[in-house]
Structure formats: structure tokens, C-alpha cells
């Protein structure tokens, strides 16, 4: 195995483009090192990107959104004074991952690029409308988060492409997002189902809605029809029922040691109701 610690993204991209065998980028290492130790993935080339300047920065964008460097950790997000006020769902989803120690290492972009269907931060980032910036041999491009995972352990990034930052859009007025997952324990566990919803309202009426589900299909699922079910309505019983049906219908899960098809499908509906209520209350002004 070869280990590199480049100083720029261009250098990192060139290393990855020229590498043979299995290449992995190392930020927090909470997936890469665990997979290495448990014989799941032994990289031939390991490119540590933490030393690249700016990779730990959380900054306001000009239009009032947020830009997170590629090595920003869950702990840095949780401790940021303003990020969680705009995007409490994204911050909470990231904060659910692992222990306090893991939070000091784990990154949302690593969570995205590891491409686990059960990744907690991914549905929240999708619901928020986040975009991943990458650079590669063919230059830079921006990819909506939902287009990054291609299947378990696979992404749509091309050889030599490396993530540089994540951008969250401006929160705007009267918006709220939330994420919940179902786990058999209270923490230190992996999602059996995850659900994120991002809403805006005018008064009581929902004006926009994005919903994403995790761990119910090979990749996180964007439930586009959630907007049709919610926009123009209040979050009344009929809306919640419609949302439950939509969530259940959007599931394409597997039976495995972590949960059954039946349980995952049922629980997706339960979480959709609960998450929608939290996001709705936040959009109407409830403190996160």
C-alpha cells in the first residue's frame, strides 16, 4: 500500500488519476480504516486529503448558504454557532453517527462517498438540496448529492475525481429540516431506516417540500412526489397519511440481519410522519 499526503487538490487528483488498483481518499478514516482492518477493502493507494488548506473550513457563501470543506467533521458541524440554526436536520443527521470520538473524525462528505445505503447524513443533505463539488482530470463540476451514490459502495465520481466541498443552499425564511432514523438501540448503531424532510411554509401552508429515505434501497431515495403531497396544504392528518403512503411506496429494501422488508417499509412511513412534524414545526419557528 502506498500512502500520500498531497498539499493541493490538483496534486491529489493527479495521484488518483495515475494510481493503479484500489484507491481510497482518507479524511476521517472512520470507514476506510475500519474496512482495512476488517479485511473488507485493502487499498493499494491511500491519499490523505486532510493537509490540503481550507478542507476544515465552514464558510458562508455569498448568497447566504454554507460551504463545508471536504474534511469538516461532525463535531465541527455540531459546534458551529450558526450552521445548525439554518440546517438543524443536516447537523443532527451527521451527529447521529458513531460515538463522540468518531464525531471528531467522521466527515459528511466521507459518509456520502462511502456510499452506504444506510448513511445517516445523506438523506438529510439530499432533502436540503446540497451539492457536492469535485475536481478531476476534466476540471471541476458540481453534482447534486442524490446523484453521487451509484449503489452500495459505489459512486458516480470518475477516476481521478476528488470531492472538495459540500454546499448547502441558503435557508431562507420560514424553512425547517429534520432527520430521524430507526435503530434498535438509542445510539452507536446503523440505520434500519432513515428519513429526512425539508420544508418551507407561509403561515400554516407548506410552500416547498423535499423528502429522502435511507436504508430502504441500494441508494438513498428521493421522494419527489412528497412535494405534490404537501405543497399548498397544511400538515393535517390527510397530509400525514398521504406522506406515509408515499414513503412506504418508495421503499425497495432487502431482508437482512438488520431488518426485514416488511419492517423497513412500515417504519419508513412512521418516520416520515414524525420527521414531517418536526420539520413543519421548525419551519413555523420552533427552535431546533
Amino acid at each position: 500500500m502506498q500512502y500520500f499526503k498531497p498539499a493541493t487538490f490538483e496534486e491529489a487528483s493527479a495521484l488518483a488519476a495515475g494510481a493503479e488498483g484500489i484507491t481510497r481518499f482518507l479524511a476521517g478514516g472512520t470507514d476506510v480504516l475500519v474496512q482495512l482492518r476488517s479485511d473488507l477493502v485493502t487499498p493499494d493507494v491511500l491519499i490523505d486529503i486532510k493537509a490540503i488548506p481550507g478542507t476544515h473550513d465552514i464558510t458562508r457563501t455569498e448568497d447566504g448558504g454554507w460551504r463545508l470543506g471536504v474534511a469538516v467533521t461532525g463535531a465541527e458541524m455540531s459546534e458551529h454557532p450558526d450552521l445548525g440554526r439554518d440546517w438543524p436536520g443536516v447537523v443532527e443527521a451527521m451527529d447521529l453517527i458513531g460515538s463522540t470520538q468518531v464525531q471528531g473524525r467522521a466527515t459528511p462528505i466521507g459518509n456520502l462517498c462511502n456510499a452506504s445505503p444506510a448513511a445517516d447524513s445523506v438523506p438529510a443533505m439530499i432533502a436540503a438540496g446540497a451539492v457536492l463539488s469535485v475536481v478531476g482530470p476534466d476540471g471541476a463540476r458540481d453534482i447534486p448529492v442524490e446523484e453521487v451514490p451509484a449503489g452500495p459502495g459505489k459512486t458516480t465520481l470518475k477516476k481521478g475525481e476528488i470531492a472538495t466541498a459540500l454546499t448547502l443552499p441558503p435557508r431562507g425564511a420560514q424553512g425547517g429540516d429534520a432527520y430521524l432514523r430507526f435503530i434498535p438501540r438509542t445510539e452507536m448503531d446503523i440505520a434500519v431506516v432513515g428519513c429526512a424532510i425539508n420544508l418551507t411554509v407561509e403561515g400554516e401552508v407548506i410552500t416547498s417540500a423535499r423528502m429522502a429515505l435511507g436504508a430502504v434501497a441500494p441508494t438513498a431515495v428521493v421522494v419527489h412526489a412528497a412535494a405534490d403531497a404537501l405543497v399548498g396544504r397544511t400538515l393535517d392528518d390527510a397530509a400525514l397519511k398521504a406522506l406515509t403512503d408515499l414513503a412506504e411506496a418508495s421503499c425497495n429494501p432487502i431482508d437482512d440481519k438488520r431488518g426485514t422488508v416488511k419492517f423497513r417499509t412500515h417504519t419508513a412511513g412512521v418516520l416520515a410522519r414524525r420527521v414531517a412534524q418536526i420539520a413543519y414545526d421548525r419551519a413555523k419557528g420552533a427552535k431546533a
Binding site: P184, R185, T186, K257, F263
Partner: protein
């Protein structure tokens, strides 16, 4: 005349709560655990394991591994002793497979190299050819006529004819006429229950450092609950004399029964002998799950008859224990514990020990009793519900008491079950209101406790302080308890006593720290050893005063003349007697060796409140109270810790922990991500009540406390969940999907 310091009241040190002597080492990282030992020239080892549930080993080719730089030795079964029999053969066969790999994770070869990374790569380079054989991992399927035979001829004489060869041991006991009893009942309930295999989940993986020379002399450092047992087994497997192997027990990061046997130690020694270098071997967590000993899974049928006034008229239980690919599933203890809390006229219990293609089960805290209690106490709870009876009244009405006959035969001596039931009923928990979605469950539990072979040695220092050497590894704060008991007898402060776990060359034989025996047996031996030292101290005082030794007595650290006739002598403090002990007759020591037989049994009653999310089936234990008879709590904080620990492990077992096997016979969750031990936020505060009904078999009344605490939780939690959802939960773990299915079954 031998000194007798027996008492059950008026203690000065016993019953106080000083800091544990190993506490600072443990919180600062100074304590040395199994993996913390090193030696000059040390090699690192890795074990090659079978990926198959059942396969004949056709060929092991280590040539590629041996050709690698840094690889110093490879061993297979051929490097161990032949001709072993009985359990020693079973353990060796488990440590290193012979002709057949018997489960996923079974060791087939091992390698030692100059680094852990090289050892791991070399292990992967060992090539093994297998011929796959049919496998079975489920206890009921393993008993069925068409089940593959795991090892013909493994059954002992207890097994009746006509049973499948995988049934290797059989137990049956009882008295009265159960059919007549059931006929007298107003309500008879019979149900089938299952539990899954769970792991002890100790935080420290097995680890050792072994050295064995061509001269047949060896040194072994390892984490274990019993190093004399390690010495005996390893010496036999390496073909050396027992006394030539010195074994030192490290600090231990939890055992719970799982470190009462060996898995890797003979492998390190065999590699060391071959490489002529010290060899360190540390299991990964995945190896701990796949290849150390979880507890048995069970399939159980229990039938109980009750009159409408709550009198139990008859009880019958059948308990099938899945014990992995070797005999040993605790079928006797499961059956014996099942109905132990109850005074029954008609009772009958049967146990089956069944082999499967799974790792050899090991002891786990009161082996068998928690599962039996789950089945029995669930049926009693259901009878109470259907007959509209108070669960405490029914248990008190039928409770075992001094003089009643145990379900498995003997008459009970002084026992404390009724006291725990009364204390639990009086606890505010039992009458606290429940919220919507919550249910309450109670359960009793029983464990035998044990004495066992024990040696203790105590030595006075010139400054009047004392050192105690015990041979039972400290798995629950026992060094503190030993020092407290010695302090009580010697009359010197707790802090002036150092208790050490001696190695096998420094003390006589000691049985394993198991059976909740340590505070009882090593404690009794410590008291006796201290008494022997006190007798000698009195003798020295008598000589100084020139009076008969019978005229001297010991009180609070002083030798005193026993009365006016003994003369008017100022009391001599212990420091005045030890200061010149070399000149007054030599070193002052005390020692005691015996197999004490008076271990007092222990009962407990637990109360649990559980809250179930009706939409997801997720259960949260919201309140938990443990009430248990400790006989006498030497160090109450560590007694409470044992109570809480048993409840915590029981919560995991009841709700989410389980070994999950695929159709291919492979373990699917060999790690803490998918083997779900409770985390701190899963547990409520676990309240404790120490009941003290002294054990007449111990000078201070001690009963073992470590195991009884895990006997009631499975049942108490299942009763709480059943009462919360309104459906009887008969299968553990009560994972959310299972509870949700139960809720759906009620609705539709």
C-alpha cells in the same frame, strides 16, 4: 484452640465502601491486561480459521507462509499432544481442529512472525483444502431425525436410546405426580419458548504471551478467570509436566464465565516451542465472536397448573440447550434452576444437551438459569394475569423456604427468597403508576453458588501491614473484599493490606473464579489465613509476657491478656509484635487450603418497567429494581455493581443481542455494530436493594452475588413487555420487528 472470628453483626471494616486497590491503575491506564505484556524477541501470532460451518480438512499447505520474510513458525494439530481424553480432548479439538472443521471460525492452523502485520499476511497465505459437509446450527433441527451427525459417539451414558446422536447428554429429575397435579389445577398453561445464543461481551479480547523452551519449561501470561486451569489444560496439550508451566493472570477486562476455559493459550505455547521465541497472541473482536464461547441457545417447553387461589399444583419443563460442536450445554443446571424458587408437590424437569455446528459454548453468568427463568416465570405471569392474581402474592404463596424440598431434590437450608419478595413488594417501584404504553414485570431467579478448591496465603510485614496472596482472578472487586475481611480479623486498616493475585508458582491450587465462589471461598480462606496469623501473634505476645497462649486474646489489632489472672500487661499492638518477629520465632504468616462446601444459594427478585413504541415495536426499559440476597455484603458498592451488571446484561439479552447465522452456517454479526449490546443510553438507572440473610457456611455470612443477578432479567423484561403490548412474548430477543408483529397479531 483455633480462633473463630465468625460474626454477622458489629463489623468495623466489612460493609464499608473504600476505594478498590486496582482502581487508580485502571483509570490511569497503568493496569496490565492480557495484551499489555511484551518480552525480548517476541513474535506475533495469527490463527487461520475455517470459513465453513462443517468441513473435512483435506490438506493444509503452509509453504507460501513459511517462505515469507519474518515468518518463524506454523503449527497445526500435529504440533499438539495425542491421546488426550474427555474434556481435555474436547478443549484441544476446539483450540485447534483435528480432521474436521466443526464451525465457522474453528482454528485450523496458526503462524508466528516478527510483526503482527506479517503474521496476518502469512495467515492468509496458508492454503487449506476442505470437503464441505452438511451442517446444522439450530437446536431443534439438530435433534431431528434427518440432521447431520456432528460427531458420532459423543453422547454419554445419560442419553436414552433412540435419540439423535447430536443429543450428547440428558438430565431428568423431579418428584410427585405431575399428571395428577395438573388434574387438580383450575388453569393449566403450556407454552414454547426460545432464546438465542448471546456472548458474554467482555470488553477485553482474549490475549496471551507464551514462552516454551525445548527443556519443557514454560511461562504464560494471559487474561483468564482461572490460571491453574489454564496451566493444567495447556500442560496436557503440550505434553509437559503441569508444574513446569508457570501461568500468571493479567488484569482482566471482564469474563462473565467466558474466560473459564482456553482458546489461544496452547497455540501461543506451541508456536513458541517451535520458533524458540516468546509469542504473543491477541484475538480480534471478530475472532472473539466467532471462536470463543457464547452461551447456549434454547428451545423450551414449560407447563404449569395453578388453582384459582394461586397454589401451583404441578410444573413440568423440557429444556433443549444448543452447546456448539461439543458436549457441555448446561442442560442439568437449566433444568435444576427452572423451578427452584417454588415449593412444588409435583414437579418434573428434563434437559437435553445438543451439539450443532457452532462454537463450543462457554459458561455465561449462571449458565442456563436465565433462560429457564424466562420460560417458567413467563408462564407464571400468564397464569397470574388470566386468574387475576397478584404476582407477588402467588410467588410468596409458593415460595421455597428453609426446610421445603427443592425441585431437584434436596431440602433447602436457610435461604432468602421470601425476604427478597417482601422487600421488592415494599419497594416504591412496585406501586409507582405506569404511563400509557408501559408494562411492569417481575421475576424471581436462583443460582446455586459454589465453593471449590481454594488456597490463600497471608504474610505480615515488619511494619504491621499485611499482604494476601489469593489465586482467584479479581473479576468483580474481590481484592477489595479480601482486604476488608482480613482487616476485620487482623484489626488493621483496609489500606494497610495489599491483596495480590498470585501466579501458579507462588501459591497452591485454586479453582477458577466461577460459580460466584470468590468472595465466599477465597474470602473464607482469607479469614482463616488471617486467623492463623492472629494465633501466631497471640503466641508471640504470650511469650513476651511469659503467660500461656490461651491467656491471650486478640482485639482490634492488639494482643491483650484475657483477664486479671493473666497478669497486668499493657496490650501489645500488632506493630510491636511484627517489628521483631524475626527474633521472636521467625516470619508471621497464615495460610489456608480447603474445598469449602458451605456456599449458600442465592435468590433475587427483579421489577422492570418497559415502554413500547406502538408504531415501531421498539422497547425501552424505563425503570429497573434489583432485590437480591447477598448473605452479607462485604463491600456493598461492588455488590450493587454486580446486581446492576447482571441486569444490564439481561436487558441486552432480552431485547437485542443474538448470534445470527445464515443458511450457509456462517455467523453474520461478528462485531459490536450488529451484535447489539446495550449502550449506556439504552439503560435506565438500575436501583438495587441488598437483602442480607446470612449464609451459615461462611464466617461472615457471605453468599455469592455475581450470577444470581442475571437470572431474573430475561423473564422480568419479557413480562413487562408482554404486559405493555398485551401479547405474551415467547421468543427472545424481543427485537422491534418481533414486538411489532406481536402487536399486529393482537390487532388482526
Amino acid at each position: 484452640m483455633a480462633l473463630d472470628s465468625s460474626k454477622t453483626t458489629d463489623f468495623k471494616y466489612v460493609g464499608t465502601r473504600p476505594d478498590r486497590p486496582d482502581g487508580l491503575d485502571k483509570v490511569t491506564g497503568r493496569a496490565k491486561f492480557g495484551a499489555d505484556a511484551t518480552a525480548p524477541g517476541m513474535l506475533f501470532a495469527a490463527i487461520k480459521r475455517s470459513p465453513h460451518a462443517h468441513a473435512k480438512i483435506l490438506k493444509i499447505d503452509a509453504s507460501k507462509a513459511l517462505a515469507m520474510d519474518g515468518v518463524k513458525a506454523v503449527v497445526t494439530r500435529a504440533d499438539f499432544a495425542e491421546g488426550l481424553t474427555g474434556e481435555t480432548w474436547n478443549v484441544l479439538e476446539n483450540v485447534m481442529a483435528g480432521e474436521t472443521a466443526l464451525y465457522d471460525g474453528h482454528a485450523v492452523a496458526a503462524v508466528a512472525a516478527t510483526s503482527a502485520l506479517i503474521a496476518r499476511d502469512a495467515m492468509k497465505a496458508i492454503e487449506v483444502e476442505y470437503e464441505l459437509l452438511p451442517h446444522v446450527t439450530d437446536v431443534d433441527k439438530a435433534m431431528a431425525a434427518d440432521a447431520p451427525v456432528i460427531r458420532a459417539g459423543a453422547a454419554d451414558a445419560s442419553v436414552p436410546e433412540g435419540l439423535h446422536p447430536n443429543v450428547v447428554r440428558y438430565y431428568e429429575s423431579g418428584h410427585g405426580d405431575v399428571e395428577a397435579g395438573f388434574a387438580e389445577a383450575d388453569l393449566v398453561i403450556e407454552d414454547h419458548f426460545t432464546t438465542e445464543a448471546t456472548h458474554q461481551g467482555y470488553i477485553e479480547p482474549h490475549a496471551c504471551l507464551g514462552t516454551l523452551g525445548a527443556d519443557g519449561k514454560g511461562e504464560l501470561w494471559c487474561c483468564t478467570q482461572g490460571h491453574w486451569n489454564v496451566q493444567k489444560l495447556c500442560a496436557a496439550m503440550l505434553g509437559i509436566e503441569t508444574s513446569q508451566l508457570r501461568v500468571t493472570a493479567s488484569e482482566i477486562g471482564g469474563g462473565f464465565g467466558g474466560k473459564t476455559t482456553i482458546f489461544i493459550e496452547p497455540v501461543a505455547l506451541a508456536l513458541s516451542r517451535k520458533a524458540n521465541r516468546p509469542v504473543k497472541l491477541v484475538m480480534t473482536r471478530a475472532e472473539v465472536f466467532r471462536a470463543s464461547g457464547p452461551t447456549s441457545s434454547t428451545s423450551m417447553d414449560v407447563k404449569i397448573g395453578m388453582k384459582s387461589d394461586g397454589t401451583i399444583t404441578a410444573a413440568q419443563g423440557t429444556f433443549r440447550l444448543q452447546g456448539g460442536a461439543f458436549p457441555g450445554g448446561p442442560c442439568e443446571m437449566t433444568a435444576m434452576c427452572a423451578f427452584a424458587p417454588y415449593n412444588l408437590t409435583n414437579v418434573h424437569q428434563v434437559g437435553y444437551d445438543v451439539m450443532t455446528n457452532r462454537p463450543k459454548q462457554a459458561a455465561y453468568r449462571a449458565p442456563g438459569s436465565p433462560m429457564a427463568a424466562f420460560a417458567v416465570e413467563s408462564v407464571i405471569d400468564e397464569l397470574c394475569n388470566q386468574l387475576g392474581l397478584d404476582p407477588f402474592e402467588v410467588r410468596l404463596k409458593n415460595a421455597s423456604r428453609e426446610g421445603t424440598r427443592a425441585s431437584f431434590g434436596p431440602k433447602w437450608p436457610r435461604i432468602g427468597l421470601v425476604e427478597t419478595l417482601e422487600a421488592a413488594r415494599a419497594h416504591p417501584h412496585y406501586t409507582a403508576p405506569l404511563k400509557e404504553g408501559q408494562g411492569r414485570g417481575i421475576s424471581c431467579g436462583f443460582w446455586f453458588n459454589h465453593g471449590g478448591e481454594t488456597s490463600v496465603s497471608l504474610a505480615m510485614s515488619e511494619d504491621g501491614s499485611a499482604q494476601i496472596m489469593v489465586g482467584t482472578p479479581d473479576i468483580g472487586g474481590s481484592r477489595a473484599s479480601m482486604a476488608l475481611m482480613a482487616a476485620e480479623v487482623l484489626g488493621i486498616p483496609y489500606e494497610n493490606i495489599r491483596c495480590t493475585i498470585a501466579d501458579t508458582s507462588s501459591l497452591g491450587y485454586n479453582e477458577i473464579s466461577h460459580g460466584s465462589r470468590v468472595t465466599y471461598a477465597s474470602g473464607l480462606a482469607t479469614i482463616k489465613a488471617a486467623e492463623a496469623a492472629v494465633e501466631e501473634l497471640c503466641r508471640r505476645a504470650a511469650a513476651k509476657w511469659d503467660i500461656p497462649e490461651e491467656a491471650v486474646y486478640w482485639e482490634d489489632g492488639y494482643a491483650k491478656p484475657s483477664g486479671p489472672n493473666a497478669g497486668d500487661h499493657a496490650p501489645l499492638h500488632i506493630t510491636e509484635l511484627t517489628a521483631d518477629m524475626g527474633a521472636t520465632g521467625g516470619p508471621i504468616n497464615g495460610h489456608f487450603e480447603a474445598t469449602p462446601e458451605g456456599a449458600g444459594v442465592s435468590f433475587a427478585t427483579h421489577i422492570v418497567d418497559a415502554e413500547v413504541d406502538p408504531e415501531t415495536g421498539a422497547t425501552k426499559v424505563v425503570r429497573y429494581t434489583v432485590v437480591q440476597d447477598a448473605g452479607k455484603a462485604i463491600h456493598p458498592t461492588y455488590v450493587e455493581g454486580q446486581f446492576q451488571g447482571g441486569a444490564a446484561q439481561g436487558i441486552g439479552w432480552a431485547l437485542n443481542e443474538e448470534y445470527i447465522y445464515g443458511e450457509d452456517g456462517r455467523l453474520q454479526n461478528a462485531g459490536f455494530l450488529d451484535y447489539r449490546i446495550p449502550v449506556a443510553s439504552d439503560l435506565p438507572f438500575i436501583d438495587t436493594v441488598i437483602v442480607e440473610v446470612p449464609n451459615p457456611g461462611h464466617p461472615f455470612g457471605v453468599r455469592g452475588v455475581g450470577e444470581t443477578s442475571i437470572c431474573p432479567p430475561l423473564a422480568a423484561i419479557a413480562n413487562a413487555v408482554s404486559n405493555a403490548v398485551g401479547v405474551r412474548m415467547r421468543q427472545l430477543p424481543m427485537r422491534p420487528s418481533r414486538v411489532l408483529e406481536a402487536l399486529e397479531s393482537k390487532d388482526g
